[in-house]
Symmetry: C2
Subunit: 366 residues, 2 copies
DNA sequence: GTCGTTGCTGGTAGCGCTGTCAACGTTCCT
DNA sequence: AGGAACGTTGACAGCGCTACCAGCAACGAC
């Protein structure tokens, strides 16, 4: 209150400079590059800022310096557990830095992504994190022309825009099928929802592995564009069973679906893994706790987010990574739900996840 | 490329104005309040902007107008399913508006919250969404002094800072206990993790309801500060059973714990609900799909986020809500896991969630 | 002792946009 | 017809900060 528009008590850099007995520009430098100041001025500015409770005006800084300290993040979904892990990594890595995260949701639409990208780039972000490798040509052109570092996350592929961190969903799916073959399963169904590019590549991996073994049949695949859910897993599995009652394993494109399949098996009194094996994807926490424990593919989502943000921040500050493309690999976590066909179906009573055996398969680089 | 620092082809408002044959200020008005322009100028500016691909410079706008179009959101966790639903609502509501969301994670620390609040407020956000009602005195003072609308979400309580939207966790917990009493359960355990203020109030509600029936015993309560997980649900339930083997129901502070308890029962071959009833909290999607289907408390998380953001945006634009405190209520969704003690334990075979019966209990206003 | 070099500091001039206010043309009222 | 009221437009100044460059002192080399 009081004067109407006179900055209402706001502390500006000039005030700090005055109290510290230096010029505004010197005070400014303190916040951007303290090393450049003499020790005496540095401490003077520091204590003046503290005393006045100075907080820089980011808008003015952005306007004057022609760049922001914002990292734009484009992800397809906020609902998905997978992305919340990635996001947590991104936020954790950015927290100790000066950069703030600007999040936008493309809702799995590459056109929406293109629109958001245009908006983001106009604000000159310090860096950009985008999901996947399936941008529109227009988006790709904008990314190529952008004058900030960019990280593509979630998967790796040829021809990165800049940096890239992820793993091969295709190879991971092939590893799952290989594991199921090893355990004696032959008639392996595939259940997938929300067929985004990454799920599609998992399907491709499954198809190729099945074809390699001359075991592929189109009827073994049940997919839908509907967003994923546990309930949907049960429904899709029901469809699959109607088509192919003598199936002996189900590869689910994610863990929610796998849980839904497990419940549906319980409802139908189908023994797992005795009659049917189940494998999920992502290795969410509950997989190790289910009865029977559920086999899944561990992907390093938190690490992916965290590494992506660190790489990006380093690149923004001029420290380019040695390897701009980072394959984080995956691991098939073998649990009870997919153990060998011949084994009896009595679930082991040992603690959840006690007997996890892991097969590590970093997807092939490049 | 080309000129080094000359705005590298950036389109400014002045360019648009020139092409449209109007003054820059008129062009500016077009973007903020198109109604104020004559139709002819409006269309001229519109097409000029489109032709040039003009995107406003937000930093300049913020600097000149002394306010940003940023809504700050403070939540305690990114991991939690609960918050991802709320966030989705917030993002959905903000998407069609000019406001962008700035998210920060307090990690369940009110001191961290205070620090973030100070940072946020210094940037003059257009509005603020904060979680809960347990701020530090300092935070509270800052919120009271803030000159922007504020919404507190997740719960309701006395003495709102400004607007408030949520429900009574205390009443919800009492309703759960009442439901269990109705079904003939008496020895009801409580299992809770990450005892944040809202979980604490659920515990308080449970305790008061149990005391009202003279059935409360401290040994029935098992809690931990550890973050929640399905596995943890099994572990806490194991502890509870060790203390009180003849328990007949478990009220879990959230659904992950409930799922963990269910799996642990299956592992121990305890019939649900035949021997033990299970109730969760939040009604995540999988609850309706589990075998048996799991009773839970439905809270309108997505709606909470969406409504909070809409209310906030309306308030920012001068349209204050009629009722600044909004109780979204809750519903105890009765499912198989808590049906009457006397009933046999054969799970109904009907589709998941088919036989949901709902008891609606909007928590008492004020 | 002079010159160049380095390290630190300050002055000037905007960044792109909007708040304020004044001015204009038009319409409506009496 | 005269004036008020309204709707529409533009000029000016400045938001708070930083890029750029100049200046100054201190130091070492010759």
């Amino acid at each position: 209150m009081g004067r109407k528009r006179t900055k209402s008590g706001k502390i500006r850099l000039a005030e700090v400079a005055e109290l510290a007995g230096v010029s505004p520009i010197t005070a400014s430098r303190f916040f951007r590059n303290p090393e450049a100041l003499s020790v005496s001025k540095r401490t003077r500015v520091e204590s003046a800022a503290k005393e006045l409770g100075y907080v820089p005006n980011l808008a003015a800084r952005a306007l004057a310096s022609q760049r922001t300290e914002v990292i734009g993040v484009l992800i397809p979904s906020l609902t998905n557990n997978v992305f919340s892990d990635v996001l947590r990594g991104i936020y954790d890595a950015s927290e100790s830095s000066r950069y703030s995260i600007q999040l936008s949701n493309t809702r799995y639409s590459i056109l929406q992504e293109e629109k958001l990208l245009r908006l983001f780039l106009a604000q000159k972000p310090a860096g950009l994190i985008v999901t996947g490798i399936d941008q529109t040509a227009e988006s790709r052109a904008m990314l190529d022309a952008a004058d900030c570092p960019i990280v593509q996350i979630m998967e790796i592929g040829p021809d990165p825009v800049d940096m890239m961190i992820g793993f091969s969903h295709y190879d991971a799916a092939r590893a799952v099928v290989a594991h199921l073959f090893e355990q004696g399963h032959r008639k392996i169904g595939f259940v997938g929802a929300r067929m985004d590019p990454r799920v599609q590549r998992r399907l491709d991996g499954y198809v190729s592995a099945m074809k390699d073994a001359a075991l592929f049949e189109q009827r073994l695949v049940v997919t839908t564009a509907t967003p994923t859910s546990v309930t949907l897993g049960g429904a899709l599995f029901t469809d699959l069973l109607a088509r192919e009652p003598d199936i002996d394993a189900v590869f689910c494109a994610n863990d929610d679906l796998a849980l839904g399949v497990l419940f549906e098996c319980r409802r139908r009194e189908i023994a797992v893994p005795g009659q049917i094996a189940i494998v999920g994807f992502n290795d969410l926490e509950f997989m190790a706790s289910a009865v029977p424990t559920l086999t899944s593919v561990r992907t390093n989502r938190y690490e992916m987010g965290k590494t992506a943000a660190s790489m990006l921040i380093n690149a923004i500050e001029g420290r380019r990574p040695e390897h701009p493309v980072l394959d984080l690999g995956f691991k098939v976590i073998e649990r009870q739900s997919s153990s060998a066909r011949r084994s009896d179906s009595r679930p082991a009573v040992s603690g959840a996840g006690a007997a996890n055996k892991m097969i590590a398969l970093p997807s092939s680089r490049d």
